[in-house]
């Protein structure tokens, strides 16, 4: 599903050249649940942006569902984001003037033929995340957890092949975090491929595969059970043993 080969990303800040990614090889198959961990500056956000087609690698190969993305135009990248990728951001990124339903409708505006039944699909997505009764509420009338669930509904509404979550619980208290993470677990169980970026062990332990990054390189790529930190901390309650 995802194939990265020797991906590099170079940023030039003044005279300084920073290798945000310094030769990353990665494969992710369908229905995997991956957590990318690392300190800030480790390159995990850059990796996320490249995986999400928000950014193009300086060199290397990135194939998404068998299609190379390196030569894509901005328009093609936008279309790919629209159809293949659902984003969940740390700060929700809901449009404050739109109600929950309209916010969830947003990706369908840019999808072909999304005109018909878009309201119905948005409503279904909101029901899927348990907000069927909050359809007409505006983001500022809802709690943080509810807002993030709207964002998840928005990410899912075009049935993307990958759900990309960048610190999805970073702005939430522990109760709401748990709510969102158990929603992710459910989605994964239903077959959704999920990649999430976090620096919290409690969040990462929901994933089945842990990738650790440092200085733009992959430090370790292990199943949850083999990751030293998480294995020591034990299995989280509520997830599979």
């Amino acid at each position: 599903m995802i194939r990265l080969e020797n991906v590099r990303k170079l940023f030039k800040i003044g005279r300084e050249r920073i290798h945000a990614l310094d030769g990353v090889d990665l494969r992710v198959e369908a229905n995997e649940y991956v957590a990318v961990m690392g300190a800030s500056g480790s390159g995990k956000s850059t990796l996320m942006n490249i995986l999400g087609c928000l950014d193009r690698p300086t060199s290397g190969v990135y194939e998404l569902n068998g299609k190379p993305t390196m030569q894509m135009s901005q328009g093609d990248l936008a279309r790919t984001r629209n159809r293949q990728i659902g984003f969940v951001f740390q700060s929700f990124e809901l449009l404050p003037r739109l109600n929950a339903l309209k916010n969830v409708c947003l990706p369908m505006i840019y999808a072909p033929g999304g005109w018909w039944g878009s309201q119905k699909r948005a409503r279904a997505a909101l029901e899927r995340v348990g907000l069927g009764d909050r359809v007409r509420h505006r983001p500022n009338q809802l709690s943080g957890g509810e807002r993030q669930r709207i964002a998840v509904a928005r990410a899912l509404v075009n049935h993307p092949s990958i759900l990309l979550a960048d610190e999805p619980t970073g702005n939430l208290d522990s109760r709401n975090s748990e709510e969102i993470l158990s929603l992710f677990d459910d989605l994964h169980r239903e077959g959704q491929t999920i990649i999430l970026v976090t620096h919290e062990v409690d969040v990462a332990r929901h994933a089945l595969r842990i990738i650790r990054m440092r200085d733009g390189r992959i430090l370790s790529d292990l199943p949850r059970e083999s990751d030293p930190v998480i294995a020591r901390a034990g299995n989280p309650a509520g997830s599979a043993p």
Binding site: L54, F89, E93, P112, G113
Partner: protein
């Protein structure tokens, strides 16, 4: 294949959605949008009201000329500014009654021609007297030239004209003023020291804005055969002619000029010692002047639309930087640059068009006010004169809207391109 079929629909949908967004945005920032639109409102209002006032004025003036008679030609003797006759005495310059005896024979495009003589007299009937009445001597065809209608009685006969009998035509205004009987034809009035028989009652002249110069100021006219008055004054004031049709008035004018030059024995290098003025000619030159004025004034006030456009651009730039995160999000969920471009472009155009619509309404109001003021100024406070009509012509509406849309596109393009080019990640990180 399916994309080929659905893309126009998708474009339409995107356009509609962009319009919805634009209205939402305008509504959410009411005060700011209103302030931004003021430039466009003033621009469109002035463009349309200037155009409407000028076209209205033009229409009214042309209608006025029409009522005078587009086929009419005025002639009067005039000392030339150069040549041997420039210091000639008035006696040698002025028209003589015999001069026009053969005019109709030599000028085939001419239908009527009448000479005029004029004096001012006190008119009396029984005890009622009216001072300073214009007594106009004219040939029998004058009422065809002037397009006046007879209410009672008969026009001048050949005998009246050739003999110079003391008969006169009066109009109903004077009839009322002199307290004549309703059936006054056949009665006599005193004109100065002479007694005139009323042979005809005329309908009053249709009062116009510019015409009726003789009638305004409440002077009264009576008409008598030319020879009758000429015999008294020994002075011929001017001549009026009518071409067979307005289209022929240019020909008629040329024929008359040629005829007069020959009759007055002017050599080819001598300038005219008379003047000819065709109404059709005045109308045409007025029309041209009006077009030029409309264009110049329209162009000048169009500059205010450009100023308004700069305001639109400014506010759109503010809007783009305020909504950077929103743009980032839209891009992240799959909005291609073209969709973002369209969204901001539509917003700018919508602002301009709404401003244009309001401007059009104000322009209409201005126009009504201007026309009322102009009417008041021209008629000099005369009551009963209907205000001049002027509506914004359809092409001016189109022009105003087209121009505001153009301003929206031109000045919205730069901010829209700026928005479309934003990097989605950086936009999302923007505070």
């Amino acid at each position: 294949m399916t994309r080929l079929i659905t893309w126009p629909l998708d474009l339409l949908r995107l356009l509609l959605q962009s319009m919805g967004l634009a209205f939402g945005q305008i509504w959410a920032n009411k005060v700011r949008s209103a302030l931004t639109m003021i430039g466009i409102v003033i621009g469109v209002a002035s463009v349309t009201s200037v155009i409407a006032s000028l076209t209205g004025l033009k229409m009214n003036v042309l209608k006025e000329f029409e009522s005078i008679g587009a086929n009419r030609i005025f002639l009067w003797a005039d000392r030339p500014e150069t040549g041997p006759q420039k210091n000639a005495s008035w006696q040698t310059i002025q028209f003589t009654p015999e001069l026009f005896d053969h005019a109709l024979e030599y000028c085939p495009s001419l239908q009527y021609i009448t000479r005029y003589a004029h004096m001012e007299q006190t008119v009396k009937h029984d005890d009622v007297s009216v001072e300073n009445v214009s007594v106009i001597g004219a040939d029998s065809c004058w009422y065809q030239v002037e397009n006046r209608r007879v209410q009672q009685g008969r026009p001048f006969s050949l005998i009246d004209a050739t003999q110079g009998t003391n008969v006169c035509l009066i109009d109903v205004d004077l009839q009322a003023k002199l307290r004549l009987d309703k059936e006054c034809v056949g009665q006599t009035i005193q004109v100065g020291s002479r007694t005139f028989v009323i042979i005809c009652l005329l309908e009053p002249r249709v009062e116009g804005m510019f015409s009726g110069g003789g009638n305004s100021g409440h002077t009264f006219n009576i008409y008598a055969p030319f020879n009758t008055i000429y015999r008294i004054t020994q002075y011929m004031t001017n001549v009026e002619a009518a071409a067979r049709s307005p289209a022929q008035s240019e020909e008629a004018r040329a024929e008359l000029r040629f005829f007069l030059r020959r009759e007055r024995r002017l050599t080819f290098d001598e300038p005219d010692n008379f003047r000819l003025q065709a109404v059709a000619e005045i109308m045409r030159s007025f029309d041209q002047v009006a077009i030029v004025i409309t264009m110049v004034a329209g162009g000048v006030v169009a500059i205010s639309l450009l100023v308004g456009g700069v305001g639109i651009m400014n506010i759109m730039l503010v809007s783009v930087s305020e909504r950077t995160r929103e743009i980032g999000l839209r891009k992240a969920v799959g909005a291609p640059p073209s969709a973002i471009l369209l969204q901001f472009l539509v917003e700018a155009v919508t602002l301009c068009l709404v401003g244009g619509l309001i401007g059009l309404l104000f322009g209409q109001l201005f126009t009504v006010a201007v026309m009322a003021a102009v009417t008041a100024a021209i008629s000099g406070g005369k009551s009963g004169v209907a205000p001049m009509q002027a509506t914004v012509p359809l092409w001016a509406v189109g022009l105003a809207f087209g121009f505001s849309a153009l301003v929206g596109i031109v000045f919205g393009m730069f901010p829209a391109i700026k928005a479309a080019r934003l990097d989605p990640m950086e936009a999302l990180r923007h505070e």
